[in-house]
């Protein structure tokens, strides 16, 4: 039986005490972002600048909700939410710290040993370490539980063999949290998996080969493990509990405001390109997307509020991601149609055309990374009780 309550997005108002933080972040971004071109600002969570990440870290704006005892800031998830939405909407280059701040930090905080937390969390909060996610493999995409890269127990630790793929930033990251098979005799594919915290710079036998994306950009990689030796303490959490842990990690990955904010810069530029004198038909079309932006903001904030109250908004988060990626994928087409300009590469055309070109070339990934649209729809169907 369908329970409509499970699909409600209760109204959430951020506490007024966060207004000051928001104003502070806006003021900071107003000056800090002037050094980037509109094109660079359209990269949002693909934009990569270690200096910028360190600046955020110095202000105490990374690892915000990680425990203080280990070097986090012990602040609420809502404060982090404010930082994240402000940086994304402004088009700040958040890529260096993005994965660490969003999911690796929280995973280490939840499952790591004392030593792992002490080693990792201060660097995340400082914006000094970059993480990557070792989940997908050549033969395991949507069917993640079928991963085959193995970690075999040896005398002084683990021996890893296999291949990860599409690993964003693996060629420049410090650490990877990888999902590896530790027991191939387990009776179900969901058992026998474990997570590992891998120091990429200190482990021989790991090679990251950049894979160019459709536009020739280098951000993701094929990572091969050939008899890579990990120390015993590289195990993250419980041996054999990798599937449960990875589901928790994906929940961090699937619930944030980035699910509708990777194109906000384009919407802003589109609004300026049209101006108030635009035709009523054009205003109506851009207005419909503005309505979506406000709607998605309300929905996303509601998810943040539910998380903050300790509830599990898994279904609602999937709905936001589903609607959010459709929104983001509509924008480039609309921004071209309404303004009537050709999308262009970096050295061609004007700023608007470059931003448009960049996002047009990024948009296909919005409904793939972090779980495809089809997989999300399956999760929603399960929430509706029909699966």
């Amino acid at each position: 039986m369908l329970n409509l309550e499970s699909l409600r997005f209760p109204r959430y108002e951020l506490p007024a005490s966060l207004d000051a933080l928001r104003q502070e972040v806006r003021a900071f971004l107003d000056t800090a972002l002037t050094r980037y071109s509109p094109l660079v600002r359209s990269n949002t969570w693909d934009g990569f600048d270690p200096d910028f990440s360190r600046e955020l870290g110095a202000r105490g704006w990374l690892g915000m909700s990680l425990p203080k005892t280990y070097g986090g800031h012990g602040r609420s998830a809502l404060e982090r939410y404010v930082i994240v939405e402000e940086t994304l909407a402004a088009g700040a280059p958040v890529g260096f710290h993005w994965i660490a701040d969003r999911q690796s930090g929280p995973v280490v905080a939840r499952y790591g040993t004392q030593a792992q937390k002490e080693k990792i969390i201060p660097g995340i909060a400082a914006g000094e370490i970059c993480f990557c996610i070792g989940m997908s493999e050549p033969n395991s995409g949507s069917d993640l539980a079928s991963v085959r890269t193995r970690a075999d127990r040896v005398a002084d630790g683990w021996l890893v063999n296999g291949t990860k793929i599409w690993t964003t930033n693996a060629h420049r990251a410090d650490y990877m949290i990888a999902l590896l098979r530790t027991d191939s005799s387990a009776d179900s594919k969901h058992r026998g998996l474990s997570q590992f915290l891998i120091d990429l710079k200190a482990t021989p036998g790991i090679t990251a080969r950049p894979i160019k994306d459709l536009a020739g950009r280098g951000h993701f990689n094929e990572v091969s493990f050939q008899d890579a030796r990990l120390p015993a303490d590289a195990l993250l959490g419980q041996e054999g509990e990798g599937w449960k842990q990875v589901i928790a990690e994906l929940a961090f990955e699937r619930s944030g405001p980035e699910r509708y904010l990777s194109c906000f810069v384009l919407l802003s530029r589109l609004v300026d390109a049209l101006g108030p004198q635009a035709s009523p038909a054009a205003l109506a079309k851009v207005g419909a997307e503005v309505a979506w932006a406000v709607t998605l903001r309300n929905m996303s904030l509601s998810v943040a509020g539910m998380l903050n109250e300790g509830r599990d908004p898994g279904l609602q988060a999937s709905v936001v991601k589903d609607l959010g990626c459709q929104f983001e994928q509509r924008l480039p087409g609309l921004a071209q149609e309404l303004v009537g300009l050709e999308p262009m590469l970096a050295d061609n055309g004007n700023d608007y055309q470059q931003v448009l070109g960049n996002l047009m070339l990024l948009a296909p990934s919005f409904s793939l990374r972090g779980g495809t649209l089809e997989i999300l729809r399956g999760i929603i169907a399960r929430g509706l009780g029909v699966r």
Partner: protein, 347 residues
């Protein structure tokens, strides 16, 4: 939701679920005025959610009104409960003591002729034929209340056969006139808000019916809901419903915060425009996919879906299409400019 809201939601759902069924709706479509349900709804205070205690109301806010209005959509309630609660709120804003009886909304600006009398034809008045009074807003910031003495009505309907009559005022004088800070088009904005709330309710009902029907109906040896193509449709309906519901509620709450005087200004009433634009926009997907998963049965008068979808098709257009409200939003956004857009979205 707080306790009052929970109680309200429960009692309004119980009342409508018990009383509004297919046979009842069919009779109303044939012209019957459901007097009994109307008095029950009034006795339970549903029409008076926004009215002050002095005026015999609940003295609640738009957050509570949302619950009632959405329920009216969900159960396809063939009564002007949303319109009445709005009318009572409006007259009280202008310091007019509310008369008892049905007050119909005049959706367009009403202005007096040079003589001081009102002679106009106002089309698409919800339940004009059943009204004892009419309320309208003048272009000089007054709220005008008329009785039926100098009025006549030409009946008309929307696709769902809800009364949408033309009201003719013949040299009428208002029985009450009150000045307040109100935009002449306030009723269009408020009507849009009501319809967004009703669309949210009807969308939820479409989803419920679609999930239930596809779970019960077996083809190829399994319930339809086990086919991935059908699950995909259901997920899309759910997403559209959730987006409409969330934005409609946000708009009702924004009105609590900003009040009557904010209406009519594109940026001050941003949430209302966004809610009606989103709601009207969603109707296409909601109705198309709900009908699709139902097959032929959904195309019959014998099955409930059409009571919802015909309303959705009308409500999509009433008090402004998604294009009209999108234009308001586009105008607001371009006036604010790209760099200020995010602050507006998060205000």
């Amino acid at each position: 939701m707080n306790e009052l809201q929970n109680i309200l939601e429960e009692s309004v759902s119980r009342l409508f679920a018990e009383r509004v069924d297919r046979a009842f709706l069919a009779r109303c479509e044939d012209g019957e005025w459901p007097a009994e349900l109307w008095s029950l709804a009034s006795e339970q205070g549903l029409t008076h959610v926004l009215a002050s205690e002095a005026a015999g109301g609940m003295n609640a806010g738009w957050a509570e009104a949302f619950i009632v209005v959405r329920a009216c959509g969900r159960y396809a309630v063939p009564l002007p409960v949303p319109e009445q609660l709005l009318a009572l709120w409006l007259v009280e804003r202008a310091g007019i003591s509310a008369p008892s009886g049905l007050i119909a909304l005049l959706p367009t600006v009403v202005d007096a002729a040079a003589t001081g009398h009102y002679t106009l034809d106002v089309p698409r008045v919800p339940w004009g034929r059943a009204a004892q009074f009419f309320v309208g807003v003048t272009s000089d910031q007054q709220i005008a209340l008329f009785d039926t003495q100098h009025a006549s009505v030409t009946p008309a309907q929307n696709l769902a056969r809800e009364p949408r009559d033309t009201v003719h005022l013949h040299a009428a004088s208002p029985v009450a006139l009150g000045a307040c800070a109100v935009n002449p088009h306030a009723i269009r904005w408020l009507g849009a808000l009501l319809r967004a709330g009703q669309i949210a309710g009807a969308a939820a009902a479409c989803l419920e019916l679609s999930v239930k029907y596809t779970s019960d109906r077996v083809q190829f040896g399994r319930p339809l809901s086990q086919f991935q193509a059908i699950q995909n449709h259901l997920a899309e309906i759910a997403g559209a419903m959730a987006s409409v519901d969330t934005m409609a509620r946000a708009a009702f709450l924004a009105l609590d915060a900003r009040g009557l005087a904010s209406l009519g200004d594109d940026s001050a009433s941003f949430e209302i425009a966004a809610a009606k634009c989103r709601a009207s926009d969603a109707v296409e997907l909601l109705t198309r996919l709900s009908h699709q998963v139902h097959g032929a049965i959904g195309f019959t008068y014998e099955y409930d879906l059409q009571f919802l979808t015909r309303r959705l098709w009308s409500w999509r257009a009433e008090f402004g299409t998604s294009g009209e409200w999108g234009e308001h939003l586009g105008r607001a956004a371009t006036a604010i400019g790209g760099d200020g857009l995010w602050a507006q979205v998060t205000r």
